[in-house]
């Protein structure tokens, strides 16, 4: 499991990508990824391309990020999720809170 953050100054968008299992083990790394930034991004892009699994504490972390990014006005996209991850997001109906691509 590894969490990487990549800020695009042009689009003022922070991309956070998670490799492997996205669960409670990634808690601190995931928080650091969006808390330790110099400039507050306007939008967030969570790249789940290499995420194999996502549990309910990961869903909780996404809610924390959404809260951090402004709650209902937050711009958070979840992109590139595989079919297992998509299913988990669908069961939780997270498409009502996040833009899922």
């Amino acid at each position: 499991m590894a969490v990487n953050a990549d800020y695009s100054a042009e689009g003022k968008e922070l991309t956070i990508s998670i490799q492997g299992r996205f669960d409670f083990g990634s808690h601190q790394d995931f928080r650091n990824a969006y808390e330790r930034v110099n400039e507050k991004p306007k939008a967030y892009r969570i790249d789940l391309k290499q995420t194999t699994y996502l549990d309910s504490s990961a869903l909780g972390m996404l809610l924390l990020l959404r809260d951090h990014a402004g709650g209902d006005s937050a711009k958070v996209r979840l992109v590139n999720s595989n079919s297992d991850v998509k299913k988990i997001l669908a069961i939780s109906n997270f498409d009502k809170l996040f833009e899922i691509q």
Binding site: F24, T52, Y53, S56, S57, L59, G60, M61, L63, L64, D67, D84, A90, I91, S92, N93, F94, K96, L97
Partner: protein, 568 residues
């Protein structure tokens, strides 16, 4: 002179008196207390009596030699590290190896070098302290683990008082849950509604341990409290969501499925937020209809954006509902492949005896994973005939001395109110103040809710009950109900309650009138008598449960009566 950081008690065992005295004076000068022994046997005895922290042991001694003494001292010391340094003039490898094998930690060659001796004592003392720290921490962990288990036991006992006062033991419910499911975040609750229906909730909090368990208590309180007061699913869900949103941190929530089984109408109402699909199994056709998650879990959305929209399905006695926690489909095999929904559905297809469904699922999980797991929750509820389940009598805490016996009340609920307000719990609470009526409160509540929903659905909203003849029309009916209610602009339901003393008891008269077009009451009642389908249960039920029930010619108002005798 090298001063020791802390003086130790050192046992020196040597049969040679000169050597013993020489070594004693060196060790003493280094600041330690010294005990002495002149053979192995004495060394063991002194060790037992005085428990020195370090032992200097001559290998060759009479009675019991150093090797055997070392073995016995190590055994007496138990888990604590008592370093043993062998004193030896031997130089052959084999002899030195024997010293270490017998439990010695180091050796010191004669003649003694004071500096090396001091350094070795210091090094051994460090090891000794390290071991003591490790042991101390181990004991602390054991102790804390004990505390934790005890706290969990107490918390569970308290929680069981709150949560399992429900009706999980009803004969139509089967469930499987680990005794410590609460600390996995799983929650299973069931309770009878005042009108004889049943609410059932399977919930799953984020995370594990105490954080997952704390939210369960308020959720159970809301569930039982509001169910007993006659609130419907919408109000209960709203309250649970608002409460969890308020008390839980942002990253915590509760996935849940809530069911309402209405045995009178033979329907189930379902709300699923974030739980895996449940299933409705129709026994006649062996269909499995998924009860899908349509909502975000409880505790995520604010009060304003929360959706309590439910789905309604018709059932017949014997049909079953199955719910499970995500542990079932999330079970992974050694290659991290998940059990998944398809495999679960396959188990359903192959299942012959519905009473053995859990066993079949367990067997499939075991075959898939190589071992079974005990942290999954499953529940199965069966639709039964009305009034076939025994309900415990409600226990009231007041004396009855203040029971109001002569009053009337009218209320008119207009369009805006009808859209979002359910008056039944308030009315039921009011009517329960009449002690004579309490024995009939189930029937009273059923009749009141039938009258109200008839007035609202057929009267104000103008819905056609014949739509509910088959399962498809049934879904349509509830869709239309939602749409029309949302668009409602005019209309009213009027209710009038009259309570009068009569002999030693009393009489309650309820009039319900609506703004709809009415219906030909005589014809509907006549048809109702033959009807056994999904529609038209309402009027028959009202007639069965109240002492008398009448409809006006135009079908726009109904009047029912309940009477009671003096209480013993």
């Amino acid at each position: 002179m090298l001063a020791a950081s802390e003086p130790l008690t050192v046992l020196i065992a040597d049969d040679n008196m000169t050597d013993r005295m020489l070594l004693s004076s060196i060790v003493r000068r280094q600041g330690h207390r010294v005990l002495t022994a002149s053979d192995g046997q004495e060394a063991i005895e002194v060790f037992q009596a005085r428990r020195p922290q370090l032992v200097l042991l001559d290998a060759m001694m009479p009675v019991i030699d150093g090797f055997e003494a070392a073995r016995q001292i190590k055994e007496l010391a138990g888990d604590a590290l008592v370093p043993i340094i062998f004193l030896t003039s031997m130089t052959e490898e084999q002899a030195l190896v024997r010293c270490l094998e017998a439990g010695g930690d180091d050796f010191l060659a004669k003649p003694y070098n004071q500096v090396i001796l001091a350094a070795k004592i210091k090094a051994m003392d460090r090891l000794r302290r390290l071991q003591a720290t490790v042991l101390d921490q181990r004991d602390q962990i054991t102790r804390h683990h004990g505390y934790l288990l005890n706290e969990q036991r107490v918390a569970k006992a308290v929680f069981d008082q709150v949560a399992h006062s429900g009706c999980l033991s009803s004969p139509n419910i089967r469930y499987l849950q680990s005794p410590y499911a609460l600390f996995n975040g799983d929650l299973l609750l069931a309770a009878f509604t005042p009108s004889g229906g049943m609410h059932l909730l399977l919930g799953d909090f984020t995370g594990h341990g105490l954080p997952a368990a704390v939210g369960a208590m308020p959720l159970a309180e809301v569930f039982y409290g509001m169910t007993a007061k006659g609130y419907g699913m919408a109000e209960i869900l709203r309250e649970m969501n608002a409460k969890l949103k308020r008390i839980l941190p942002v990253d915590m929530f509760c996935c849940a499925t809530l069911l309402y089984l209405n045995f009178q109408r033979q329907v189930v109402e379902v709300w699923n937020g974030g739980m895996p699909d449940g299933y409705l199994r129709r026994m006649a056709s062996d269909e499995h209809i998924p009860l899908r998650s349509r909502h975000l879990p409880l505790g995520v959305l604010s009060r304003a954006s929360f959706q309590e929209k439910t789905e309604v399905f018709s059932m017949v006695p014997g049909d079953r509902l199955f719910l499970c926690s995500d542990g079932v489909i999330d079970t992974a095999d050694s290659d991290e492949e998940l059990f998944g929904v398809d495999r679960l559905q396959r188990v359903f297809e192959l299942n012959r005896n519905p009473d053995l469904l859990f066993e079949d699922i367990h067997a499939a999980l075991k075959a898939f994973r190589g071992e079974s797991r005990d942290d999954v929750s499953m529940v199965q509820v069966e639709m039964v005939e009305p009034d076939s389940l025994e309900q415990p009598a409600t226990i009231y805490s007041d004396s009855g001395a203040s029971s109001p016996l002569n009053w009337s009340m009218s209320l008119e609920l207009r369009a805006d109110t009808l859209k979002r307000f359910n008056p039944l719990p308030y009315l039921l609470q009011l009517l329960q103040e009449i002690h004579g009526l309490r024995a009939q409160s189930g029937a009273l509540y059923s009749v009141l809710s039938e009258l109200y929903s008839n007035a609202l659905e057929h009267g104000v909203l103008g819905l056609d009950s014949s739509l509910k003849r088959d399962a498809e029309g049934f879904a349509q009916y509830y869709d239309q109900r939602n749409t029309r209610l949302n668009q409602l602009k005019d209309g009213y339901v009027r209710m009038h309650f009259l309570v009068q003393p009569e002999g030693t008891g009393g009489r309650l008269t309820i009039d319900v009138e609506d703004s709809g077009h009415g219906f030909d009451a005589r014809q509907v009642i006549a048809r109702d008598a033959e009807e056994t389908g999904l529609s038209g249960r309402g009027l028959k039920l009202i007639r069965q449960l109240s002492r008398s029930a009448q409809w006006s010619e135009d079908g726009r108002s109904a009047c029912v009566e309940f009477t009671w005798e003096a209480l013993a």
